[in-house]
Symmetry: C2
Subunit: 319 residues, 2 copies
Amino acid sequence: MSDLPKSIEIHEEGPREGFQIEPGPISTADKIRLIEALAETGLHHIQACSFVNPRIVPGWADAEAVVAGFKPKQDVEYTALFFNANGLDRALAFRDKLAINGSISLTASEAFTQKNLHRSHAENLDAMRRHSALHIAKGIPVTRLGVMAAFGCNYQGDITPAQVISTLEDGLRIAAETGAKIDLFSLADTMGWANPMRIERTLGEVRARWPDMAISLHLHDTRGLAVANAHAGLRMGVTRYDSTVGGLGGCPFAGQKGAAGNICTEELVLLCEEMGIATGVDLDRLIEVGRMAEEIVGHVLPSELIHAGSLDAFRRKAA
Amino acid sequence: MSDLPKSIEIHEEGPREGFQIEPGPISTADKIRLIEALAETGLHHIQACSFVNPRIVPGWADAEAVVAGFKPKQDVEYTALFFNANGLDRALAFRDKLAINGSISLTASEAFTQKNLHRSHAENLDAMRRHSALHIAKGIPVTRLGVMAAFGCNYQGDITPAQVISTLEDGLRIAAETGAKIDLFSLADTMGWANPMRIERTLGEVRARWPDMAISLHLHDTRGLAVANAHAGLRMGVTRYDSTVGGLGGCPFAGQKGAAGNICTEELVLLCEEMGIATGVDLDRLIEVGRMAEEIVGHVLPSELIHAGSLDAFRRKAA
């Protein structure tokens, strides 16, 4: 068990993922309330909003008002999601509050790229080349290379480690051409195809090819295996995970109504803390925020833990 | 990864666990329909009902009618749960249909024994001694030694491997005194306190003490970690798991309203089959039965997989 990391870094994406998919309407004040409450739990990275087309994602039509409205907490890094020049400009208007970094985001599945972005893989490479160059031209570092559908795809089926490596090579080529310095690979199980063995194999092959690159996992719980997959990641020494409080969110483009979203932050925290891996998060506070998220969205969220309560709460009662 | 087993044996407890806790009323015909559908999925062990006091568990007041009514399938073993002489006699009336075996069932937590059974551990040992002797006197083998709350307890807190071993020693003493031949230890995470490391440590210590004893895991998903705990069990070579279709059930005595029940059978099957561990179960059929279970109980069940669909279904579409 000595290969488990001593600590991990959690990137909380609940506000961004959740409010993008919830039918709502959810008030700007509630969005701000959730972001501010998350910052009080010990989380250090919060993706606060999405600067996207409000006609396509009406839940984030008030992104500017949310970012303008929340009171930032020291030592917390707030980020935003954006996909194009317009989104980048909207984010840059909040440079004082948001940490703005560029990503090269590719997909290991050609079929998914077509369905989700209406582009071929080659067209997507061109778009990402322009996207990366645009960031660099504006003085924004591009440091992250993301691969969606890295473990399988509802439209294409299984994705092999070789396909992931080839996609990462495509991304690194774009980085080299545009002057981006990638220091993180983010592998996303966008549609819930991973299992612990596949995590081990894909990470193993990626590590063998790029031994010094940091890796982050974005694990969807579409088929209930996210927490087992996170455990496999921990065993492989992965120290960075995306997650969402309460399991907010879902997969808007997986072709499945009602599919679960990201791994729940509080279940990831419980998994780690119970095995002696520090997260910096106060789990009881986070559970309270999960319950607040349920109240805000107005329905039950996937997290079992916000309903059951933490072990520490029972330990205190039993003592 | 060579320590993963080649196959596992699943004990489906959905009917017994589910109908015991669902507010219902659920018709006898629906209970029979679920049991018969489960037998068509490739499952070989189905716990069909509970012979308990109908005033305490009204959902199983029709246990006799259910057992009399279902059409048994060859190669499927049907079992029932019972706790006392009356329950045993009720089960024995169906010796032609039910596989009847006795259990010595103890709890690693004194506080839980008190809360759940209103007995001290010593009183519970006496009761189990009488229970085992009664079975032996009636010619019923007693082969299973179960330990509830083997990883922690909402009333007592953490449970150490040493407490589990001491409880198993108590049970083996009863077995020796009453002439029972124990061939299986069943360790239950009754209130969702386990984590993968604790599974490894407790199983490791139990194995070190009794290297040749078969072990079965009964994992509740109270805090969302059941599938990671099952994976830890698989890595330790455990080949027998209890589970419930759709995640039917819940924990009626954990002091938590709305607490999740057993690990979902279909998520356990997915976890295993995707890693090359045979379960004998047709996952697509099982998912259909999970959806039938949802329809019968009239509300959404915890299983993510019955909502998302199997990977094989998407593989076939993608091919």
